[in-house]
Amino acid sequence: MTAAATAAPEALQPMRLVIVYFGPFNVNSAIQAFHFAGDLTAAGWTVTLAGVGDPGMIREVGEPSFECVNHHDLPQVLERCRQAPEPTIVFAWTPRENVRVATEDFTRRLGCPYVIHLEDNEWHLYGEAVGRPIEEVRRLSIAEQDRITPPALIHPTRSEAFMANAAGITVITEELNEFNRAGLPHHVARPGIDPERFRPDLEPPLSRAALGIGADEFVLVYHGTVHYANQHEMLSLYLAVKLLQRRGRKVRLIRLGETDPGGVDPRSLGALRDRVVELGSVGWREIPGFLALADAFVQPGAPDDFNRYRLPSKLPEFLAMGRPVVLPDCNIGHDLEHRREALLLERGDGIEIAARLEQLIDDRELRDRLAAGARSFALAQLNWKDNSIALGHFLNRISRAHSGDHQSAPLTASPAR
């Protein structure tokens, strides 16, 4: 984190914030946008969240205290901004092409700065989705790149200027700042957690006995869809449970979410699921109660190029629940102390996960220490309001720096076309 990001001596200055979000309003990272927008609105900011699809979907997350619009409605927002000038900043949630187009158009017309938020290795995702390395596609003509690049991915070439011309970068995990090649001011915009919704003493909505789980069994709960991108990680988790059961350990896994097996050996995955309690999809609001069934949580995965640059949204929830957490030694794992706040995975395969779980099962004191450490970490580091205010200070500084650079041009002046 930059020094500028950690120190926040000045009072937060309300300003206008337009968040240009890449997707629909009810997906995981939209929840983060919802919290940032809500907390800054509460601090006196005027916030607009522009996404894809029906803005009403935000109500699946919560009742918004700020304006929600579709990307198509941004011209109206722009017109209002022109009519009521005040310092404005655009927060581009990822550098993906649909965000880039909307952001560049808006900021060019309004003459305001923009900050880009990184929450994934977008360059890796591009290669996975298109089936060709992005470096290879970048060698094609711009017209060809335009043709093959879908709007929900970054543009191999156009994203470079978009990144370089930003006034600042925010990242969900420090590793993502590796992509800040222009050396722009950056800030770690960590998500938060609602410590009341996710807390250690929650009562589960149903008992273990109702699920056919014995009182003496060690229970893991994992929520999230199994899909092509994470099926290897889920195989590792299922396998770890099976290996422990084969060793005579009483361990059970409860799964929430859908399973969409892709290319992985279906016999392997299928056979490993036979004693897993699969509860299917559960409403977002019900998840904390089900998490309360757990003795521990595991976020499977290797500290590889995929996991290094992301922060699975369920990790803050695991930590806040005050249970021992096993997770890869990367992203937020770098900030957690091994054996005090979490157990870290070096490889993330089934054998290693099983070994970590055996440590937990055999060591009551370790379990208690990790449970307390996880909760403390969540309260200290994953506070929505603190993290939103820290983001607000960063955006204040970016805005001030921009207005200093552009003293001759009013912030809301209409730019030349």
Partner: protein, 556 residues
């Protein structure tokens, strides 16, 4: 006649494809000049024109065509070549005054080449239009490559494409037994010159012999699993059948034996008795250690769960083998029963005292007790049927860079059970060529020729002890199986090779396929979990054009 040299007008579909190809050319990080080298001799003018046109129609623009006419007496070849040379500056032609043979003609064409890479094209064969583009892409992806080869097929006299040859990635072991690299072959020109070009002493198999010498200088060899070469099957050519050219098997064996000498392997090549254009390796009697001394260096480790097969195995080990192994260790849950079945055979029985028998743990325990330089793991379902098995297996396990070798595993009825194993994500381990007559050639020699493979089975596996220890032995989290396939992956991750030896043949009474079916599914999942990325990338020694299920070399 000049009109014949013009490209045909593009159709709408052709224009769309052309735009795509143009984009692919534009995307290349580098565009090395590729010299297509072609020797010609008394070629049917029609076929010659087709061969040359196939180069002229390449979508990759940076090529030249270097042709040497090997003193064709009739003049018709010269007429065709002169016409092309005069109309296309990218075509260079030289005429040899007298017929000097294909190697000399190829070398003469090679002298014309200015490209960073040279591609070899016979005078009546054809390249598909994207051949050089795919090569340039491979070279762009890895500029360190010295050699690129592709899959190929044949053109019948009527121009019909047939007999696709889907090859494995570079397998130095397979290259000893079968002329498998073939065409399209693209080599860094400086390397081709360093090895002295083609050797006239090996005319008829000159490209095979050339490949062996090139492989002594580089292992930066890449296979493109696409058909980038159409080989004309005309009477008299090897494409029409290796038996069409007399003396080929002997020349092939001579080339391989010379190669083995140069790389310091104590072996000679001999033509296969029934399929003579396949070469097999045999110990060099002048260089190999004494068979008895070799046998003394081998410790046999049998992890025995129980069953009558142990008696049969021991009887064959001591009764059929030309020389009995140095020691035999049986790790058994029921030690008295093992001792009783061992009878008078000199066997050391080690008791496995754990509650639940684990083959991986028992095998590791046996290996720890063993004193031999070589470890032979085998199951009690195996039966030795050939006296010279150890020398042949040892020879293949001793090839440069190789750690372990396994035999042809056959069923009692003479059908193949496994000629090595292929690995994949959706079908983690499949025995290769299961059900095929064990005396057959297999797919392009895949049964009779030794090959590098991704895995062999501990039903019968000879491994250098140092390699076994370097790989930390068998992973003991496997309870019922897959530990052998896992070990092979770890050996390969260490850069060590695993070889299907083709010879000897070992009969297995409980088939590996049946064993795989009976295994604990958790072990299968464990194998997938540990090697997920490698399995997802595909088996380098099993062409992606084959159906994965059953690994029978059937295009899928």
């Amino acid at each position: 006649m000049a009109a014949r040299l013009r490209r045909p007008a593009l159709t709408r579909r052709g224009r769309a494809a052309s735009r795509t190809v143009a984009a692919e050319v534009e995307a290349l990080p580098s565009r090395p000049l590729i010299s297509v080298v072609m020797p010609a001799y008394e070629t049917d003018p029609k076929l010659l024109r087709e061969a040359i046109d196939s180069v002229r129609h390449q979508r990759y623009p940076d090529w030249e065509l270097c042709i040497a006419d090997d003193g064709s007496p009739s003049g018709r070849v010269r007429r065709v070549l002169d016409r092309y040379r005069d109309r296309d500056r990218r075509i260079k032609v030289t005429y040899l005054e007298r017929n000097r043979g294909i190697s000399a003609a190829t070398n003469a064409a090679l002298e014309l080449a200015a490209g960073e890479f040279v591609a070899f094209l016979d005078h009546d064969d054809m390249l598909p239009s994207d051949a050089l583009l795919r090569v340039a892409q491979a070279l762009g992806d890895d500029p360190e490559l010295d050699l690129v080869y592709s899959d190929s097929d044949k053109l019948t006299l009527h121009g019909t494409r047939a007999d696709p040859f889907f090859k494995p990635d570079w397998s130095p072991t397979y290259a000893l037994g079968a002329m498998y690299v073939g065409h399209l072959l693209v080599v860094r020109r400086s390397l081709a010159e360093q090895v002295g070009g083609f050797d006239s002493a090996y005319d008829k198999i000159q490209d095979f012999e050339f490949m062996l010498r090139v492989s002594e200088r580089t292992d930066r060899i890449h296979h493109i699993p696409l058909i980038l070469y159409h080989w004309r099957a005309i009477p008299g050519s090897i494409a029409a059948g290796a038996e069409q050219k007399s003396g080929v098997p002997e020349l092939q064996a001579k080339a391989v034996s010379a190669h083995l000498r140069r790389i310091g392997v104590a072996a000679v090549a001999v033509p296969h008795q029934e399929i003579p254009h396949r070469a097999q390796l045999a110990p060099d009697p002048e260089l190999t250690v004494e068979p008895a001394e070799l046998a003394a260096s081998v410790s046999v480790v049998i992890a025995w769960r129980g069953g009558e097969g142990l008696e049969r195995l021991l009887a064959s080990l001591f009764g059929v083998s030309a020389h009995p192994p140095g020691e035999v260790i049986v790790v058994a849950a029921d030690a008295p029963a093992a001792a009783e079945l061992a009878g008078a055979h000199p066997v050391r029985v080690v008791e496995d005292s754990d509650d639940v028998f684990s083959r991986s743990r028992a095998a590791n325990r046996g290996a720890a007790e063993a004193g031999g330089e070589w470890l032979l793991f085998c199951s009690d379902a195996a039966e030795i049927v050939e006296p010279g098995w150890l020398a042949e297996l040892h020879l293949h396990a001793s090839l440069p860079g190789t750690a372990a070798a396994g035999p042809l595993i056959s069923r009692p009825d003479g059908r193949t059970e496994a000629a090595g194993f292929a690995v994949a994500l959706d079908h983690p381990v499949e025995p290769m060529l299961a059900g095929v007559d064990a005396a057959a050639d297999g797919y392009y020699g895949a049964l009779v020729c030794a090959r590098d493979v991704s895995a062999i089975s501990a039903e019968f596996m000879l491994i250098r002890r140092s390699a076994f220890e370097r790989a930390a032995g068998f992973e003991e989290n496997y309870a019922t199986g897959y530990e052998d396939f896992d070990l092979c992956q770890r050996l390969r991750a260490l850069g060590l090779g695993v070889v299907y030896a083709a010879r000897p043949r070992v009969v297995v009474h409980e088939t590996p396929a049946a064993r795989l079916e009976a295994l604990d599914i958790v072990d299968r999942a464990l194998f997938v979990d540990r090697w997920y990325d490698q399995l997802a990338a595909g088996d380098p020694f099993f062409n992606p054009n084959f159906a994965r299920r059953e690994a029978s070399f059937v295009p899928g």
